[in-house]
Amino acid sequence: MFFLIEYDRPRGTIVELREFDPASRQLAEDARLQLELDLNRRGVDHEIVILDAPNKEALLRTHSRYFESVAEMVHGSPQVQALIAETNKLPLEHEG
């Protein structure tokens, strides 16, 4: 799947997300160009990117920056949660 994302960096929000099936890369690229030209004419500074992933779940894992707040990102990571759990097991002299 191809995902065309219009992202407002300062606001940290996705303005638009469009999905294209794997055979429609050219359509996605055409849509990207049209969107870039349109935003450029209107003086809108958004990031436009095409991402490629087998499904949206995979995209959420590897490109969570676009989809999650910082808190969601950290709390959603099993490894980070495991680290926090390890902290609770440490002896007192290791607590910082």
């Binding site: 300062p10 606001r11 590897t62 999650e68 707040s69 910082v70 099993p78 680290l83 390890e86 902290t87």
Partner: protein, 248 residues
């Protein structure tokens, strides 16, 4: 059949593609590609430049597809990718560095995230086997402003494709860095900008490295503390700028 071209002996960022692909951008010479980069670096972007850049990026499609297929075959992992770097990121990189557009190694790239550094090493070795002339950049040994990962730079069909191999913790750090870059400015990702944000990212990076590479549990509180500090800082910045916390 894989066609892999050696870029050994070159500085990674200087390894350049000799042609610009099968689309109409073939009409552009390497010099013209770099002239396009020069115009993008300077400021306002003309429609013709956006169209040229679009065509240049599309010329990486074949190489990108081939590299993704190699990753699937050799690692049984399913990468996610960015077949072409965004205009915003290209312009930022051109302005941040002295690099020419034709030298940019990450126009096309993809990423795999694995559980830990043992698996990371195994994946890198398999990729090295499948792409024997690729360049491996181990940013665990030499972090780039706190960024740790292993990058495998494949050269396929005269195009460079960057494969990012990250552990989960390295990936979380990288995503934090990106989010802070969005909040306080991208300079923070490259050793500039907001000093507090830099300090927080550096702290987490150091502790992550210690935990991953030395198995040091004493680094865990430091890491968790750093993450807590990061969350507090990021939320304060979000509130201060009245920005929503989540994406859509």
């Amino acid at each position: 059949m894989l066609y892999s071209e050696s870029v050994e002996g070159h500085n990674v960022e200087e390894a350049s593609a000799d042609s610009v692909g099968p689309t109409f951008v073939n009409l552009l010479s390497k010099t013209q590609v770099d002239q396009l980069g020069g115009r993008l670096r300077k400021g306002s972007v003309a429609e013709g430049d956006l169209q040229q850049l679009d065509a240049y990026r599309r010329s990486f499609a074949g190489a990108y597809d081939e590299v993704v297929a190699i990753i699937r075959d050799t690692t049984q992992l399913e990468p996610t990718g960015r077949p072409a770097k965004s205009t915003t990121s290209i312009i930022e990189k051109l302005r941040r560095e002295t690099i020419r557009l034709s030298q940019m190694q990450d126009i096309a790239g993809c990423r795999v995230v694995v559980d830990n550094i043992l698996v990371q090493d195994q994946v890198v070795e398999r990729l090295r086997g499948a792409l024997p002339k690729a360049i491996v950049v181990d940013r665990r040994k030499q972090p780039s402003f706190g960024y740790r990962a292993v990058h495998v730079i494949a050269s396929v069909r005269n195009k460079l494709v960057e494969i990012q191999v990250r552990t989960e913790l390295q990936h979380v750090w990288a995503q934090m860095s990106e989010q802070l870059g969005d909040l306080v400015g991208p300079a923070v990702k490259y050793g500039g900008g907001d000093a507090d944000a830099q300090q927080i990212l550096a702290r987490i990076s150091r502790a992550t490295a210690s935990f991953e590479e030395k198995g040091s549990l004493t680094s865990v509180p430091e890491l968790v503390g750093g993450i807590g500090q990061f969350l507090k800082y990021a939320i304060e910045k979000l509130i201060a700028s009245a920005k929503p916390e989540g994406g859509s």
